[in-house]
């Protein structure tokens, strides 16, 4: 009798734990988003990639940016440092950016202007402003905090042959009112994101065009952000993606902002 009660209690506990609503063992919406942010923005202890960005206006006119991007993760708090070097176009060649990113406060940002050999610290309190004129914001490039939005799991469905969680996120303060994300249920990468404005009109759409494995890590190597209201879009291709290459923290300082580290910036 006693063993039966234990069995029943265990069973009940198991049911309670494993099936909040639908009957399958689903993580919470926040856990899905957290895991997705970790996979997308924090893979490896460091990362190096060549990045090609095409800014395409509604008339089809293309502007191009060719960059090397270096990233290092620092500690458990989520601090990161980014180094971005511009190979082109000719007028901005040699310009470099340094970002010290903190999840809980404003980033520190610097720019190096090569013709003047000038390092300038830039005031940056808005992570949602455009990154070099593209449809991606600084936040899209370097990530947001899971607690910046509240998340709800809408459903699970297949997108482009991949199983995906569909999550609706509402920001506490932003230029969009809600964001619907399709997150790969096995690889944890965002496959698609739709942003809506305050009138619930589509604002921007992110699409992962190509997902590849770079070393141990699944990586979105081609991505597009389209402004649904202006028709302007930005296509980004990551090439030569490498993780855990052994970047040192001093790469992300003024010295290398002034003189690109040639071992990594080629």
């Amino acid at each position: 009798m006693r063993s039966l009660r234990i069995f029943a209690t265990s069973l009940l506990t198991a049911i309670t734990v494993t099936s909040p609503a639908a009957g399958a063992a689903e993580p919470s919406a926040s856990d899905i988003v957290k895991r997705s942010l970790d996979t997308y923005y924090y893979a490896g202890s460091d990362m190096r990639s060549k990045v090609q960005m095409k800014l395409i206006n509604p008339q089809g006119k293309v502007r191009e940016r060719e960059m090397t991007m270096l990233r290092i993760n620092l500690g458990a708090a989520g601090d990161q440092r980014y180094y971005i070097y511009f190979h082109g176009p000719a007028d901005v060649k040699g310009t470099s950016f340094l970002v010290w990113k903190y999840p809980a406060k404003e980033d520190d940002r610097w720019i190096f202007v090569p013709a003047l050999r000038l390092v300038k610290r830039i005031a940056a309190d808005d992570k949602r402003s455009s990154f070099v004129g593209s449809d991606f914001t600084y936040e899209d490039v370097s990530g947001r905090d899971v607690d910046d939005e509240s998340h709800a799991l809408v459903r699970k469905e297949s997108l482009g042959g991949r199983p995906a969680y569909v999550i609706e996120s509402k920001p506490k303060a932003a230029d969009y009112s809600r964001r619907v994300s399709w997150i790969d249920a096995e690889r944890w990468l965002p496959l698609k994101e739709e942003y809506f404005d305050a009138r619930n009109e589509p604002l921007r759409t992110f699409t992962a065009e190509k997902v590849e494995q770079a070393g141990k890590y699944w990586t979105v190597t081609a991505r597009t952000m389209k402004n649904q209201q202006s028709g302007h879009r930005t296509e980004v291709v990551f090439r030569e993606v490498e993780y855990d290459v052994g970047l040192k923290q001093d790469i992300f300082t003024e010295r290398y902002l002034r003189d690109a580290p040639s071992q990594w910036v080629r």
């Binding site: 000719a90 050999r117 005031a123 309190d125 004129g133 302007h232 300082t253 010295r255």
Partner: protein, 417 residues
């Protein structure tokens, strides 16, 4: 003896520079040499009619066509490299065509140290168009005629050594003297208290100048200390018999700067002491007196793609009583403390293809001003145009007010390749 040593040092430096610069491209062959450049036309027109003396480019203080070719290379290990930036300029305003070496240097780099030898631009300090500890040569003519900002600084012929021992970076610059490009009657009109008609001759000082900087981080604040053994970069004129002789008096400077986040913006502080060695007691009216200089600046983003910045700057003349006693009649009298405020506003539009910018120098003590509005549009990655103005106003005794007959509007078009 010192002079002889200097000559030897200079000859050795020149030889080393040439061999480094020549050897680097050969060595860089493996990694390849990258070429790029631009062609640019720049026209500045005086904004109102004034009577110019003969010999002054009156209607158009600048009317030039410029082509720049840049070559750079690095060996595949990254341990050595070079960069050359050469401008061919035809300036119709003054009827001049010349080839200018903007920069031409070779680099040797290792984990803990780096050396750069040749003509190079060096920029220090945290001011925005205000300079305290950056004593390197500048081109004021380029600024006052609206040239793109990259022409604000002139290259120094120098050996720059960097050491990276760990927490701090050390930079040492040993340079040949180069004067500022200061406004002259070739393009500008201003009151000249010196007697007219006498021939002028400025003699550049011999000997090498030495400047050092130590910099580092304290958390996310940046601290730097500076010292320079240099010269004033604009000439001190004095009448000697039947001619006017210009010299560049000795100057030592020492100072510090700090910059970091404050609230939602960036705060910058910089201070320095200018020890005018040629006039220690402040009684020589032709030489600038010793000064303390300081600035405080704050900039922050106000909304998307828009930034504002403010600065307050002061120059405290040390021996003011001596200066007042020695300043000749007819010369404008400077204030004990010269105070300047600046305002900058920048807004980007249309995916950052349009840049609207406004910069103002406001002379608080001299009651003068210098306003620089500009609008730039990038047609494509290769082609941009900018229209803008350099508007001087206020009391003619002030530094900016003395330029008030030189207000101009300009247009620049650049095609990069």
């Amino acid at each position: 003896m010192i002079a002889a040593l200097n000559d030897v040092a200079r000859a050795a430096a020149a030889t080393a520079a040439v061999s480094l610069v020549l050897a680097s491209p050969l060595a860089a062959g493996a990694a390849g040499v990258a070429w790029d450049g631009f062609v640019q036309s720049h026209l500045a027109r005086r904004s109102h009619q004034v009577d110019c003396p003969p010999g002054t480019a009156c209607e158009f203080p600048a009317a030039e066509l410029r082509g720049q070719l840049k070559a750079e290379g690095k060996i595949s290990s990254g341990g050595a490299g070079f960069l050359g930036r050469f401008d061919l300029v035809h300036d119709a305003a003054v009827g001049d065509t010349r080839l200018v070496t903007r920069e031409f240097f070779g680099d040797l780099t290792s984990e803990k140290a780096a050396a750069r030898l040749g003509r190079q631009v060096v920029t220090w300090g945290v001011g925005d168009l205000l300079f305290v500890n950056d004593t390197f040569p500048r081109d004021w003519v380029a600024l006052f005629t609206g040239q793109p900002m990259q022409y604000l600084k002139l290259g120094s012929d120098a050996l720059k050594l960097n050491l990276f021992p760990g927490a701090a970076n050390l930079e040492l610059v040993i340079a040949d003297f180069r004067s500022d490009n200061v406004p002259t009657s070739q393009r500008f009109i201003f009151a000249d208290p010196l007697p007219a008609g006498l021939p002028r001759h400025a003699a550049e000082p011999g000997g090498l100048e030495i400047s050092g900087r130590i910099s580092g981080y304290l958390e996310n604040w940046e601290l730097a200390g500076y010292a320079s053994r240099t010269h004033h970069r604009s000439p001190a004129w004095r009448v000697m018999g039947a001619e006017i002789i210009g010299t560049y008096p000795r100057l030592n400077t020492v100072g510090a700067s700090v910059t970091g986040p404050l609230g939602k913006g960036v705060v910058s502080l910089e201070a320095g002491y200018f020890d005018s060695r040629g006039d220690r007691d402040g009684r020589d009216p032709s030489i600038e007196n010793s000064q303390f200089r300081g600035l405080i600046g704050y900039s922050r983003q106000v909304w998307e793609d828009a930034t504002v910045g403010f600065q307050f700057y002061g120059e405290w003349m040390r021996d003011y009583a001596a200066y007042r006693q020695s300043v000749p009649t007819g010369f404008p009298v400077k204030d004990h403390v010269r105070k300047v405020a600046t305002v900058r506003f920048t807004q980007l539009f249309a995916h950052q293809t349009v840049t609207l910018s406004f910069f103002a120098f406001l002379g608080l003590s001299e009651e003068d001003r210098y306003l620089i509005p500009s609008l730039r549009y990038s047609f494509s990655d290769n082609l941009w145009t900018e229209v803008g103005a350099n508007l001087f106003g206020g009391g003619r005794n002030g530094m900016f007010g003395s330029m008030r007959d030189n207000s101009n509007v300009y247009v620049t078009v650049r095609y990069s390749f």
